[in-house]
Amino acid sequence: MTNAVEQESIKVIVFQLADKEYAIPVSHVQGIEKLMHITRVPKTAKYVKGVINLRGVVTPIVDLRERFELPISEHEETTRIIIISLEDMEVGFVVDSANDVIDIPASAIEPQPEVVGSLEEEFISGVAKVEKRLLILLHLEKVLNPLK
């Protein structure tokens, strides 16, 4: 959270899961891909769908709907995989759609509101109000940790 305060604004990728919009700083995004064949990897957490061949690099895939325990839905034309890089890990997130890149002014960021009983709470590092949209800022480390 303090990161955002040091700059005037942060550039984020906005994506959609169910009826909410989430944001991840572009500095952590390697790319956005269409859905492709996922090879199942046995004995991993349920939300780890497997691995894909991303231009020669074997990359693990996390289904964010399952990670956040949201109801599972069919994959659509708009479904995308957002490739995240965090420290020395590269992981792909399956999301309903990846909409745009916007700048969030530091002033628009607020700490996460108390939402009682929501699993998502753990994964949120704050929210931002931009125009009429409410963007949920993801805490990538918490999403990717702990595995198993």
């Binding site: 064949h37 090879t39 199942r40 990897v41 046995p42 004995k43 991993t44 780890v48 497997g50 691995v51 894909i52 061949n53 020669g56 690099v57 074997v58 990359t59 693990p60 420290e87 020395d88 890990m89 590269e90 992981v91 990717l144 595995l147």
Partner: protein, 368 residues
């Protein structure tokens, strides 16, 4: 990505395409290309090979220093320093070796008084040995020290929850020795500055395994210990047998395979709640990969025939049961990355000719 590896992947794809398309000239050209690549591979690998001496040459000084610090008398023998290893392996193997040697000196070799009391020469010997065998390079660290006190190791492992009392009854000496490689383990009564913090040996094990190798320990109390590291000669290109289970494709390293066989259901016997077969006079346990890998099954199959891959780890055998054999292929070993670590019985992944990822089976994990 390594250029040669890229070539190997594309060769695989061309072979896949040429089989589908079945074009005479294309097939011939791909075959010729494969032969040329085989020669190229030999040349490239030779250029990448570096004698292990470059890693070993720091150890004499290190041992002299350690001997002084610990007040012990130690003679270091180096055998096979001219043995060559892939450059990338050389870079990674240094730290693990340092730790293993420090371990031998600190926990293995006794101080001169203790050695005299045991009737041993005051000067302890540490032998650092490297040699080639088959597709592997072996590096051994042998000492004539105190050996591993298995009772103490077991007691510590049980108290730290690494194994249970029940599990310990069925463990072999070798398995007990190797408990010292588990994380968070340390039996040193006094933690010296050199080692014994319980952090190092498990890192040694994971580093060696990440290079595609393994480490095993033999030890006799009061006589000494041998730490054996086995490393693949070719870092990342291996020959595998591709197999199919339901629609999933897995790769089994050829170096572990003795034979493939088709057996009848009627040949399967039950011994101690374990399904086994008689393979050339030996009782071989069967491992059903569809169970191990929890492969989703369409309907329950009651097959009369089963495809089995007989694999070996040292003296032990196992029969891996699959749906069918696809064929032999050379593949590029790919890591699963830093997010997915420690997947049981999977040692890595590869990219097949059709662009999809296939997982590589770690046979050693399936043989107890």
């Amino acid at each position: 990505m390594n250029l040669f590896e890229e070539l190997v992947i594309d060769r695989g794809r061309l072979q896949s395409i040429s089989t589908e398309v079945n074009h005479g000239e294309l097939n011939e050209t791909v075959e010729r290309m494969s032969r040329v690549m085989g020669d190229l591979q030999t040349i490239i690998l030779t250029m990448r090979m570096v004698p292990v001496e470059t890693v070993f040459n720091r150890f004499p000084k290190m041992i002299r220093q350690l001997s002084r610090d610990l007040n012990k008398k130690i003679n270091l023998e180096i055998i096979g320093a001219e043995t060559e290893l892939d450059r990338t392996v050389i870079d990674e193997i240094g730290d693990p070796l340092v730790h293993l040697i420090r371990n031998s000196v600190d926990h293995g070799i006794e101080n001169p008084t203790a050695r005299r009391a045991k009737g041993k020469p005051e000067e302890g010997t540490v032998v650092l040995r490297a040699y080639h065998s088959g597709n592997y390079v072996f590096i051994e660290i042998e000492d004539d020290g105190a050996g591993i006190n298995r009772e103490k190791v077991l007691a510590k492992a049980i108290s730290k929850g690494i194994v249970t009392q029940e599990q310990s009854y069925s463990m072999s000496d070798k398995q007990i020795n190797e408990l010292i490689l588990a994380s968070g383990f340390s039996t040193a009564d006094v933690i010296s500055d050199v080692s014994g913090r319980g952090v190092g040996l498990d890192v040694v094990k994971t580093t060696i395994e990440s290079l595609g190798g393994n480490i095993s320990i033999e030890s006799t109390q009061d006589v000494g210990s041998i730490f054996s590291i086995q490393l693949p000669l070719t870092l990342s290109i291996i020959s595998v047998m591709l197999v199919e289970i339901e629609k999933e494709i897995y790769a089994i390293p050829l170096s572990s395979i003795i034979e493939t066989s088709i057996i009848r259901s009627s040949e399967i016997m039950n011994a101690h709640n374990q399904k086994v077969i008689d393979f050339r006079g030996k009782v071989v346990p069967l491992v059903f990969l569809e169970e191990i890998f929890e492969v989703p099954r369409q309907e329950h199959q009651d097959e009369e025939f089963h495809s089995v891959v007989i694999v070996r780890k040292g003296e032990k055998l196992a029969g891996l049961v699959v749906d069918s054999f696809i064929g032999q292929q050379e593949i590029v070993l790919k890591s699963l990355g830093n997010y997915l670590t420690n997947i049981f019985a999977i040692s890595g992944a590869t990219i097949l000719g059709n662009g999809k990822v296939a997982l590589i089976v770690d046979c050693n994990a399936l043989i107890k």
